[in-house]
Symmetry: C2
């Protein structure tokens, strides 16, 4: 591409890009995530990046999701043009998934499980850990009419397995059931005359991490709760247990309501399954509310231990109506990893690293340009046995060729000999150099691919 | 996501989406492409999806690339807003790669090789095989100041290996060197007084596939070439050989020029390397011109044998100046697979298929809801040994659970027994049912993952 103007280039705030060695880390995370999702029977789908703006607006809980519209530059009038619907970039993967389910309902098998790993866009003002373009990794199960509750226990177990496979500090998945605070508040008499009191109370409790319990108590009283109600609401939010003892702790508060009973039974089932299958990975945390509108049962958030102030890296929940086509409704449950935010933290703090910046395990040296075909033949033989390699770019002095490998972290340099049997391979980390045959040399398994490891602790 | 309005949904023209069984095919193609690129030492990078519009405009050869701008809906004024530069979605991966190289030049090792597999967007009117959102798979090598010519032979060999690994009909990579027609035309006296005659002639010859040689001859004469020049130009374009005999055929035309000699030597080196490493994968085809502005040496196009009218599925070439930062220029060579176009053809014609629509190799049946934990435990044991599986959604009659597996193409159904040792597994294709232990049962290798195969020929 001819570009003869002196080029001014600079990063765009909110649109992160990685160097090759960072991208190797991202690829490792993506590979582990996808492999785990597939091990649990979630096929992949991708949806187009755009939806009609009309479909994006007013979805997703926050009315202020910042949506990017797109417009053809060739259209003078801007967006749309040629009488087409105005299109925008999706800001999550749930809205397009809901549309995909309705559009393809006749061609999907229900209950339908899928995973989806794609970029999403939000035009928010960028700040630490917030991006305008970022990658989400979602799993959901959706059914027609009714959805079995055991799927609510399955979702966080899949994620616990993902986290166990990643080179990261401990993750704790916090689980609650929206029916617990709702039933508890009703049992306290909140919402008896005006049902919006329940939403108001939830919204105030959601500020606990930011403003603390004293301030929340004051806000609750300001909103019309009695001091006794406020104290009970905070007592409920303080309950956090690794097992089902949360039930007893709630009972001790002396509040009763049938919706509360439902919520406690449902959360117990999820926590029991979790404690059996992945001890320590999940906690019942009765403070989690997770958005205020569309979740109707179990909700999830996830903290990285030691980095709780960064908020949740993996969230989701159950919704009774993912979508509707007028004839059927589609209840679902889903959970989503905010991969870009997680990598932003890990890379920013130097908590993860890659063993090299090239996929090549071997650099095949070139003795002189005339013998390049012999070096290419060595590379072809190594590749035929699955060993990633490249041929040196120039027949420079061997010291220079070794430095070429060193700078990329390529662990081996291969020296083709004059005859067939005279080849040697050098491990440039140890300096050890041995006779080798490209048709039989075994590359140690751990050197075949770049290793991605946890650092700094 | 609550969506209580009856939802009207329909596909958006030009924005293809796949069903899970089609996506499995796409993933297989992506996996083969990435694995082959990495086997050849090309690390991955991704660039952000947007560039400043100013950078996108006037690049890429065609002035009429249809660019999508993006704008924050929250901005009344439309595009840009808050004093930020106007942004657009990239229409290829070369323009952002050039910017990435300049931006990160101090942190990359040159010669720098990379692969890049991403979506790109063009607001063109959609038609068969043309999309508004589609996936490109690029490799490039770029250096500072000078780029060694052997990379021009390497690019098509990597692609030949990709094609050999895919379940597709034969691909033929057509190679030319821009210096051959240029030197040949000069040798004929074209461009002696007015150098634009050479571009004009190339542009007319480029129409050969569309309008035929008689019409091209007439157009050449209209453009001021003599009938003798026109005949020689067409004679050159007709030369296509699998080996280096094209040199002799050109010499037989009796035209001489030093630039022609350079081109013939360069193309000979590429074809010789290709014939040695991948016999039959490449041809010298002296008609290929591949855009008219920025390629300066070797150029590539690729035909799917039997579907030549679909045009090229994999193209590229050498450019002396991929980018410049005022101090350095960055010559490069690259080649790109148009994956969406290729899959559009293969899926549309039913030439490729997947053995199932789920990653699960096993469905673990559930005898009754009370024993679901036992079924989950079986699934956990199978997964711990890398066997993808899922647990039946409901404790329905076994016949119904088997049909659940059948509809997804899941080959095995596992029946947990009452005791530890009483499990059985059924291959639902053959009907064979055997005793099995989830800690030791071997899933046949070919059933572990969905198989993607060539069909219909």
């Amino acid at each position: 591409m001819s570009d003869t103007r002196p080029t001014k280039v600079k990063p765009l705030s909110g649109f992160p890009e990685y160097l090759p060695e960072q991208r190797i880390i991202e690829q490792h995370f993506l590979d582990v995530i996808r492999a785990t999702f597939e091990l649990h029977g979630f096929p992949s789908i991708e949806t187009r990046s755009v939806e009609p703006v009309e479909r994006l607006l007013g979805k997703g809980g926050d009315a202020d999701k910042e949506i990017y519209g797109i417009h053809r530059l060739a259209d003078e009038g801007g967006a749309g043009g040629r009488g087409e619907a105005e299109l925008g970039l999706h800001f999550d993967l749930t809205v397009p998934f809901a549309r995909y389910v309705v559009e393809n309902a006749g061609r999907l098998n229900f209950p339908f499980r899928r995973h989806q790993i794609q970029k999403v866009w939000r035009g928010e003002r960028p700040q630490e850990g917030r991006y305008r373009e970022f990658t989400q990794c979602d799993i959901d199960v959706v059914d027609v009419g009714e959805l079995a509750p055991h799927f609510e226990a399955e979702m966080p177990l899949v994620m616990a397995e993902v986290f166990a496979g990643l080179p990261i500090p401990e993750m704790v998945i916090q689980v609650n059931n929206r029916k617990i605070p709702e039933g508890f508040y009703r049992g306290l008499g909140i919402g008896a005359d005006d049902v919006t009191e329940i939403q108001d109370t939830l919204r105030i409790v959601d500020k606990l991490d930011k403003v603390g319990s004293e301030k929340v108590a004051a806000l609750l009283v300001d909103a019309g709760r009695t001091p006794e109600q406020a104290r009970a609401v905070l007592d409920l939010a303080a309950i956090r247990t690794q097992d089902t003892t949360f039930v007893e702790r709630v009972r001790d508060l002396g509040v009763e309501h049938p919706v509360l009973d439902e919520g406690l039974a449902a959360l117990s089932a999820v926590i029991e399954t979790g404690a059996a299958a992945a001890p320590g990975a999940m906690v019942a945390d009765l403070r989690i509310a997770r958005g205020l509108d569309y979740y109707t049962g179990t909700v999830y958030e996830t903290q990285l231990v030691g980095y709780e102030s960064w908020g949740s890296f993996c969230s989701g929940g159950r919704y009774d109506e993912l979508a509707s086509d007028g004839k059927n409704t589609y209840p679902g449950v889903g959970i989503s990893i905010g991969l870009s935010r997680l990598l932003g933290l890990l890379l920013g703090k130097g908590l993860v690293g890659a063993s090299r910046r090239s996929p090549s395990a071997v650099l095949v040296a070139v003795t002189d340009e005339g013998s390049r075909p012999a070096s290419v033949a060595v590379a072809t033989r190594l590749r035929s046995r699955g060993i990633p390699c490249e041929v040196a770019p120039a027949a420079a002095k061997f010291g220079k060729q070794i430095r070429f490998a060193e700078r990329r972290g390529i662990p081996y340099v291969w020296f083709p000999g004059a005859g067939e049997a005279d080849d040697q391979v050098k491990d440039i980390r140890s300096g050890e150099q041995i006779d080798a045959d490209a048709s039989s040399w075994q590359c140690p398994q751990e050197d075949l691919r770049p290793q991605v490891v946890r650092l700094g602790e």
